[in-house]
């Protein structure tokens, strides 16, 4: 088998990896949707439950669809980077490089060059959020219109933010709650908790409202005549699904970047690192002294 055929076969497999998840999602949706008259607005369909000590673990449509989007994204990344060369000669490598450059420019513009290591994470958040919202175009249940999925992301972001805030030392972090005056402490705590909640609700609410409004438009047009259902809802989904979903993905990534870079206490971190280095130096000197004796 020549090199070229092998390359083609791997390419085909990767393309299948990108398309099959969505086909699987549509098949699952068709199999599990209960028969009903007309259009109904429901939450995610529960596929099956696993018995757990506290409460049964439900595997819902939202989870499964987000896994499918993940598989799609992995396939997309592998496809775009398949057979990359130092001097690009294929179209897909140009696309891949364009994406990487754009994300790196976004990160360096909003966070600074120190945080370049965040570029892959931001790209993952952007891609995941954007493609999750866009999956509603195929008639799938968009995972971002389930609060649990988005809340999971925002809790992850919150953990990263807190980790970066703690880099200035625990004392510095605790002190932050009592500023500008100690009376503000409860408000600061509420503000801290509000960060992940508002991030999650913003994203979830926008996508959910898109889903509900497009379903209502669909139902209303169907009530008038079945012919009107063709095409007209697509115009509305241009705004509610595509524009709103992409804007929310961008905002989620943007807020992640801003919160992380604003939360990082630079001065306190440098002071702490200096102190640590000093302590280390002294310890080593003392050890050397002991050894010399």
């Amino acid at each position: 088998m020549s090199e070229k055929t092998k390359f083609r076969i791997v390419d085909g497999l990767l393309i299948a990896m990108m398309i099959l998840p969505f086909v699987a999602g549509i098949v699952l949706k068709i199999l599990f949707t209960p028969e009903s008259e007309g259009i109904s607005i429901t939450g995610a369909i529960v596929f099956f439950e696993i018995k757990m000590p506290l409460q049964p673990l439900q595997i819902t449509e939202a989870q499964v669809n987000s896994w499918l989007v993940m598989v799609f994204l992995v396939g997309l990344c592998l496809y775009l980077t398949h057979g990359i060369k130092v001097v690009p000669d294929s179209r897909r490598q140009h696309v891949a490089e364009w994406i990487v450059e754009k994300v790196e420019a976004l990160v360096s513009d909003n966070m600074g060059d120190k945080y370049m290591a965040f570029a892959p994470f931001i790209a993952a958040v952007l891609g995941m959020s954007a493609f999750s919202s866009l999956s509603s175009l195929l008639g799938l249940f968009p995972p971002t219109s389930d609060l649990n999925v988005v809340f999971g992301w925002s809790i992850l972001v919150f953990i990263i933010i807190t980790h970066y805030k703690l880099k200035g030392g625990v004392w510095n972090y605790t002190k932050g709650y009592f500023e500008p005056i100690p009376v503000f402490a409860p408000m600061n705590v509420i503000g801290e908790i509000a960060t992940p909640v508002s991030m999650a609700f913003r994203h979830f609410g926008n996508v959910l409202s898109g889903v509900v409004i497009s379903t209502l438009i669909h139902a209303a047009l169907g009530g008038l005549s079945n012919v009107l259902r063709v095409g007209i809802p697509a115009v509305f989904s241009l705004y509610f699904d595509i524009f709103s979903g992409l804007i929310q993905a961008y905002i989620f990534a943007m807020l992640t970047m801003l919160y992380i870079s604003n939360g990082f206490p630079e001065e306190a971190y440098e002071k702490r690192m200096k102190k640590k280095a000093e302590r280390e130096r002294r310890r080593r000197e003392a050890a050397a002294l002991v050894e010399n004796k």
Partner: protein, 94 residues
């Protein structure tokens, strides 16, 4: 019993309508933001791209409160009646 359920359904609908009053704030705020962005572009047409992207981002963030109202409205219409009627039936023991 029917009367109680009717009151629950009616109040849920009224509550959903009231929740959508939250749309006033973002409407005024976003209008003001867009107006200011237009003024900024008029003053410095070369900064159009930056102003537009900042404005869209600010608008989407300002929209959050309106979206909260919308979420409450949707919950009140599609989710709450079932829960409330269930609570009522449990309380009565029917």
């Amino acid at each position: 019993m029917e009367l109680a359920i009717a009151i629950i359904l009616g109040c849920c609908a009224v509550g959903a309508g009231l929740a959508l009053i939250a749309g006033i704030g973002p409407g005024i705020g976003e209008g003001y933001a867009v107006g200011q962005a237009c003024a900024a572009i008029g003053r410095q047409p070369e900064s159009r791209g930056q102003v537009t992207s900042t404005m869209i981002m600010g608008c989407a963030i300002a929209e959050t409160t309106g979206i909260y109202g919308l979420v409450i409205g949707i919950l009140l219409i599609f989710v709450a009646p079932n829960i409330f009627v269930g609570i009522l039936q449990k309380a009565i023991g029917a």
